[in-house]
Amino acid sequence: MLVQQLVNGVSLGAIYAVFAIGFTLVFGVMNVLNLSQGAVFMWGAYVGLEVVRTLALPLPLAILAAATAAGLLGVLSEVLVFRPLQRRGAHRWMGMVGGLALARILIGLAQEIFGTQVVRYPDNALAGAALELLGARLQLLQIVAIGAALLMVIALAALLRYTNVGRAIRTVAFSENVARLVGVPVDRIRLMTFFVSGALAGGAGVLWSLLFQSVSPFMGDGILLKGLTVLILGGLGNIVGALVGGVLLGLVEVASVVVVGSGYRDAVGFGIVLLILLTRPTGLFATRETTRA
């Protein structure tokens, strides 16, 4: 029973983490909150679904296609919204409103193209499969979700740590001016960052809709709020914080269903957010550099 709950929590948390890492990456590098991320997540889920259903391609390819498409949407949000606003030196909240506007357009388009009803991924070998571990029945899907999430996080970590693009991204995150001085093509790096961020959201979208068997144009709002929660838990712009915070939120939600009932599950997350903001605004895992609040 405990093992089962643990796996439930970790698989949920792993998806939160992947989504939130994309979110926090853009914040860390560009210092903007991209509120269209939830809609990008939803589009990722639909693209994955279409690839599986219409093209009948295997799941890993669907995740790859969804991540690529969602990454391009991320790029779109930079080109269409955030770059022009930054050039103009607009207020921070203009970026938030711009992101929300883009989300609305994306949700409307999804309704137009895919319809408003809730759909699900076609049955596959994964869906029903389960395995026994320490007396608990675990869905194979959960293990796959955890594995895929882990893979994405490792890929991102490797990208940031060992590649030139990664080094450039970290330089821009440190300071845009410094990056310009040492010859980093800042605009291109920003685009790359938005691509990676969108791709993570898209991948998370496929995993989420596999795990919960539902895809709808409105699935982005919920995850957006979860992403914001994880962002605060881990500290804005803190990637490791988002990873740990995501898994933590998943575990807390599963535990809170047991302790306070499913009705108050979401309140626990937001309650923790308020508590953290009031006591440790830079997140649970603040380093000495993250003193923005």
Binding site: F27, L33, L80, V81, P84, L85, R88, A90, H91, R92, W93, M94, M96, V97, G98, L100, A101, L102, A103, R104, I105, L106, I107, G108, L109, Q111, E112, T116, D221, L225, L228, T229, L231, I232, L236, G263, Y264, D266, A267, F270, G271, V273, L274, L277, L278, P281, R292, A293
Partner: protein, 280 residues
């Protein structure tokens, strides 16, 4: 004919109500505070006022007053805790507040009717009351803006650090504004509840807060006409586009995006812009 009148009537009521709510965010945007607490504060006003009118037999005016006071107190409490947070952190804390209130409303069945909501609320809100109260709110904000306090508001918007260095207590000032915005939200919540005859927790969540704060941005943050124009556009545009729910979402999104990108001063800046075009 009567059908047409009623449809029209509802639109006007909604324009007036949402304009008033938008002013609650307007005064905060004026000092660079992007608050998403509106939904939560409205919920407090709405649920308290219907409990008073439906269960306790209060008449409308005292119930509205109670809603206003309760939401102001809540805003005062919340503000004294979260106003020291800066920028996005403040926004996030206000969002968390709204969501916590919504979830409590969702689960507190005996008072709020849970997810099903409360039916059969007496329809006590009249168009003239909405118009009168909106006029009062606009007059008060106008008067404040044209006083020494308004001067300080603009100074804080321009350079907060300079104002506090000059010896003014910026924190207390912001708290006063946040409390005032809570009063508007609470009043609006009470009016909204007695306008629709039905409320559910979903009416007061993230989306409500977002729509309310978007209205002044859309209309114009530096002009008193801004919130009215923005809120009215957000009410009328969906009505005009009734034929297609999807096109509605897309067109509202495009309008919002166009304003954010091309009209930093909001829709009120439109005539000036076109005049300048014509002149050059």
């Amino acid at each position: 004919m009567t059908d047409l009148f009623y449809a029209y009537h509802n639109v006007i009521d909604l324009c007036l109500l949402n304009s008033m709510l938008a002013f609650g965010c307007f005064i905060l945007l004026g000092v660079n505070l992007f608050s998403l607490a509106t939904g939560g504060l409205m919920a407090i006003g709405a649920y308290l006022s219907i409990w008073l009118t439906m269960q306790q037999g209060w008449s409308f005016a005292p119930a509205l007053t109670a809603a206003l006071v309760a939401a102001s107190l809540a805003a005062f409490g919340l503000g004294s805790l979260v106003l020291r947070l800066r920028g996005d952190y403040f926004t996030m804390a206000t969002l968390a507040f709204t969501e916590v209130v919504r979830i409590i409303a969702l689960n507190w069945d005996s008072v709020t009717g849970g997810a099903l909501g409360v039916f059969g609320i007496p329809q006590l809100t009249e168009t003239w009351q909405l118009a009168g109260l909106l006029a009062l709110v606009i007059y008060l904000i106008w008067a404040v803006r044209h006083s020494a306090v308004g001067e300080r508001m603009r100074a804080i918007a321009a350079d907060e650090l300079a104002v506090s260095t000059a010896g003014h207590d910026v924190a207390r000032f912001k708290l006063a504004l946040f409390t005032a915005s809570g009063a508007i939200a609470g009043l609006g919540g009470g009016l909204a509840a007695h306008l629709n005859m039905f409320i559910a927790p979903g009416d007061f969540g993230f989306l409500r807060s977002v729509d309310t704060v978007i209205a002044p941005v859309l209309g114009g943050v530096w002009n008193l006409a801004g919130p009215v124009i923005g809120a009215s556009v957000l009410v009328v545009l969906p009505e005009a586009l009734r034929f297609s729910a999807q096109m509605r979402e897309i067109l509202i999104g495009v309008t919002m995006l166009a304003v954010v990108l091309f009209l930093p001063a909001g829709l009120v800046g439109l005539p000036k812009l076109s005049r300048r075009r014509a002149a050059s």
